[in-house]
């Protein structure tokens, strides 16, 4: 992302320079001479930057190509249980080119499955973030709350996400809220624990500053606690989003309905192995993007906090 922005900036530079050179061309020739070396310098810079980008892009491309080749080679032979990449692309070409079709029921394009899953994650994760930061603050701030709640948290957080599913199905009697609840209960522990650690680690100095200024509880929370604990909170949020995405696929396999988890389960039941592989690629890419998104937000929000 950084690289892309840089390229844009240098392109802009270039156009500015070109308009500048156009003017002196008409008036004085001496000035063009003065500008010439800078232009040369500029082209070498572009080459250098392109080279740097290539250096970063080439290794992953080479490795991916090698892995695909190996996979192709291993699965091409007759008797192979999994399809080679060429087969995967051929089998799933319709799904790849048209992710938006909707033939009713669960016969929809991948876009709809993924967006249904993302919506559940968004719901559950948003709830977990709010509740997790609130509970984490409570546990981090009050010794009493910590002594009371921490043992419960430590036990509950080891319960595997899917173990919650039957219980939530019994409670909600519907797949949708149950899946959201599973996301919530999966994501909340790292958020609570990291927030609590962050709050507990707020330096006494900052508390003293707040005390001298007589900040009230709300002002202290907004102006000192949240920014001071932000790096920790975001560590929790980032772990949380990863776990949510892990849990949603498994939960949807059991709850059914539109969603990438059930799409995979359905493909397995109809022996469409290629579709499973395609879905896995999408699941991986989206998980990666979710993680990067939270990391990017963290970078913006905690700008300056981490330093010092």
């Amino acid at each position: 992302m950084h690289g892309l922005i840089r390229i844009k900036a240098s392109k802009m530079n270039m156009s500015v320079r070109e308009t500048k050179t156009a003017e002196p061309l008409a008036s004085a020739s001496a000035k063009i001479l003065a500008l010439a070396p800078r232009r040369a310098n500029f082209t070498t810079r572009v080459f250098a930057r392109a080279g740097a980008i290539a250096m970063r892009l080439v290794p992953p491309v080479v490795v991916i190509a090698l892995v695909l080749l190996l996979w192709e080679f291993l699965c091409r032979k007759s008797g192979a249980t999994l399809p080679p990449p060429s087969r995967v692309v051929k089998d799933t070409w319709e799904l790849i080119v048209d992710p938006f079709f909707d033939r009713g029921g669960i016969d929809k394009g991948l876009f709809w499955h993924l967006s249904a899953s993302l919506q559940r994650v968004a719901f559950g994760y948003a709830l977990a973030s709010v509740a997790g930061v609130a509970l984490g603050t409570l546990v981090g701030q009050s010794v009493w709350a910590m002594r009371g709640l921490d043992p419960i948290f430590q036990v509950l957080r080891t319960v595997p996400p899917l173990a919650w599913l039957p219980l939530s199905l019994a409670a909600f009697r519907d797949g949708q809220p149950s899946a959201i609840f599973v996301i919530f209960i999966t994501a909340i522990w790292p958020i609570i624990i990291n927030t609590a650690v962050g709050i507990r680690n707020i330096p006494q100095d900052y508390r003293n500053v707040a005390a001298v200024l007589r900040l009230n509880h709300f002002e202290f929370f907004v102006k000192i606690m949240v920014p001071a604990a932000a790096p920790y909170i975001f560590t929790g949020l980032r772990i949380g989003i990863g776990l949510s995405w892990l849990a949603i696929v498994a939960a949807e396999m059991l709850t059914g309905g539109v969603g990438i988890g059930f799409f995979i389960w359905d493909a397995w039941n109809s022996s469409h192995i290629s579709e499973i592989i395609l879905a896995l690629v999408y699941v991986g890419l989206i998980g990666f993007m979710l993680d990067r998104m939270v990391a990017a937000i963290a970078n913006i929000v905690t700008r300056g906090t981490a330093a010092n």
């Binding site: 100095d205 003293n208 500053v209 001298v212 002002e219 920014p227 001071a228 905690t302 300056g304």
Partner: protein
């Protein structure tokens, strides 16, 4: 006789479990309005503890602090502190750090525009107006202390509490900041209680120097009046007889009568 600020028969014990350490014992000190008082003593004798008690950040075991005839036992902006290690909030800019204090203290009495102007005024007072958009991590140690000072001054405190404000700085920066503080004290007439472990600094800046004995159970060993005319210039003072006399007196106290004992 009533003092502007009175530290009245203070004892301070820290207890952890059954273990009890007596840090301060029977400390009494009266300070007049506009006076500049320094507290000097060896490391660990309880200077910060005493300052924190005046600030209201640490509760006393016995005794009390009286400011303008009223007991104060919790922190407040009328006793602004410049902390030993600047304590700026790293996520706020220089301006933001001072503005936070201004917004809180003058939320009712000043308009938005006035609060902005007052923030800038105080930053300019410590010559930090030019760096207002920098974050604490981007400025030098001396600059951080200036901002800490601006933040404290901006609260218009009755008493300004300085905890080794120049302790972590190199000699040149320290001299520069001392001059700034003297100029500001001259101009605003603040009541200042400053902790230091630097004899020259104490003599140069103070009207009175309070010398503390070594802990545990430290108390005030001696109080020295520094009757040097203001404004004071460090270069002319360097050979001044009164200056040298005061300096000698403090040195004698610190290094002969109350030498730092490792066991303490």
């Amino acid at each position: 006789m009533s003092h502007y600020l009175l530290i009245d028969h203070i004892d301070k014990k820290f207890t952890r479990g059954s273990h009890e350490t007596e840090v301060l014992k029977d400390v009494t000190l009266g300070i007049e309005q506009g006076e500049y008082v320094s507290i000097i003593g060896h490391s660990g004798c309880g200077k910060t503890t005493l300052l924190n008690i005046v600030a209201g950040l640490t509760p006393v075991s016995r005794g009390g602090v009286i400011l303008e005839n009223r007991e104060v036992n919790e922190p407040g902006p009328d006793r602004a502190v410049v902390f030993q290690n600047h304590s700026l909030l790293p996520w706020l800019t220089v301006y933001g750090n001072v503005k936070l204090a201004v917004d809180k203290v003058f939320s009712a009495s000043k308009s938005r525009a006035e609060r902005h102007a007052w923030t800038m005024h105080n930053l300019d007072l410590v010559q930090m107006g030019h760096a207002k958009d920098k974050r604490p991590a981007e400025i030098s140690g001396g600059m951080k202390q200036r901002v800490g000072l601006a933040r404290a001054l901006a609260m218009q405190p009755k008493v300004l509490l300085l905890d080794e404000p120049f302790g972590a700085l190199d000699a040149l920066t320290r001299a520069h900041l001392q001059d700034s503080v003297m100029a500001i004290h001259e101009k605003l007439g603040n009541t200042v209680l400053m902790i230091t472990h630097d004899v020259d600094e104490a003599v140069l800046l103070s009207d009175r120097i309070v010398m503390m004995t070594n802990g545990p159970a430290a108390c005030i060993g001696e109080v020295l009046d520094v009757s040097l005319a203001r404004p004071r210039k460090r270069l002319t003072l360097a050979g001044d007889a009164e200056y040298l006399k005061c300096r000698k007196r403090v040195l004698e106290f610190l290094y002969e009568r109350h030498r730092f004992v490792e066991a303490a």
